[in-house]
């Protein structure tokens, strides 16, 4: 049966060759979903410091100013914009809207995510 899992198919996940744009849209959506889910729980745990009082929270703010954390935040921004726009595209096409343009809508999602990343990257790192 062609729809049964096998270890060979698992390795095929990592083969970048011969993919259609829709496949890339799906992969990016997956990766951003996993990243954002990880971020969500990290965010919830870290904000627990607010319950511990001003000093605990202040320590976290100091950490949030470090370049590595800022880089992580920029990745979250990029992921949110792409995942959100691509999600809208999927919902629209699920209801038969814009199906003929879905490839262009995917490229537009990527372009806007890149533009947003550059914009907020400058805001985060531009002093």
């Amino acid at each position: 049966m062609n729809n049964q899992p096998s270890s060979k198919k698992f390795l095929a996940w990592f083969n970048p060759l011969g993919r259609q744009p829709g496949s890339w849209a799906f992969i990016l959506s997956r990766i951003t979903a996993l990243g954002l889910t990880f971020y969500l729980f990290l965010h919830l745990v870290v904000l627990g410091r607010l319950a511990q009082g001003p000093q605990a929270y202040q320590e976290f703010l100091a950490l949030a100013e470090s370049p590595i954390v800022k880089l992580g935040e920029l990745a979250v921004i990029a992921a949110v914009i792409y995942h959100g726009l691509n999600g809208i595209r999927i919902i629209l096409t699920s209801f038969g809207i814009g199906v003929a343009h879905q490839q262009r809508l995917f490229y537009a999602s990527v372009a806007l995510a890149l533009a947003g990343t550059v914009f907020f990257g400058i805001r985060l790192f531009g002093g």
């Binding site: 996993l34 319950a51 202040q58 100013e65 959100g84 809208i88």
Partner: protein
């Protein structure tokens, strides 16, 4: 279902994902974008410092408006629900047996309920720290 043969939905519930879960996921998605935009604007543009991060006092002051804990609680419910239904969808691709799937579903539901309870608790604690 009686869809005409010319119309083939491009996306829909995954195999093993009920239509209800799928519907919740696509309703919470756009709702999230709205609440998330609000959340980001408030947290990064309305604080008292120019760094874009709210100080402890900013956060406490912000939570004194009862609308704010209400919005943040709505946010945590919606975002946790969306992310865990999505995670379940990804795990479905590993083709789990019915038994494993039901364990996954229960674990995710437990994680979701715990996270939401924690989020509500945190919002209320922050709101209660006001003057």
């Amino acid at each position: 279902m009686t869809t005409p043969s010319s119309f083939k939905p491009v996306s829909g519930p995954r195999p093993g994902e009920t239509a209800w879960l799928w519907l919740i996921k696509i309703i919470t998605g756009p709702l999230l974008l709205v609440v998330l935009a609000l959340h980001l604007i408030v947290n990064h543009y309305l604080g008292s410092t120019s760094s874009g991060l709210m100080t402890y006092d900013d956060v406490i002051a912000y939570f004194q408006n009862p609308l704010i804990p209400a919005i943040e609680i709505l946010f945590v419910v919606v975002v946790v629900t969306h992310s865990l239904i999505g995670l379940r969808g990804i795990l479905l691709d590993m083709n789990p047996s019915r038994r494993v799937l039901s364990i996954i579903t229960w674990l995710l539901a437990l994680l979701g309920a715990t996270s939401i309870a924690y989020g509500v608790w945190l919002a209320l604690v922050i709101a209660s720290k006001g003057p």
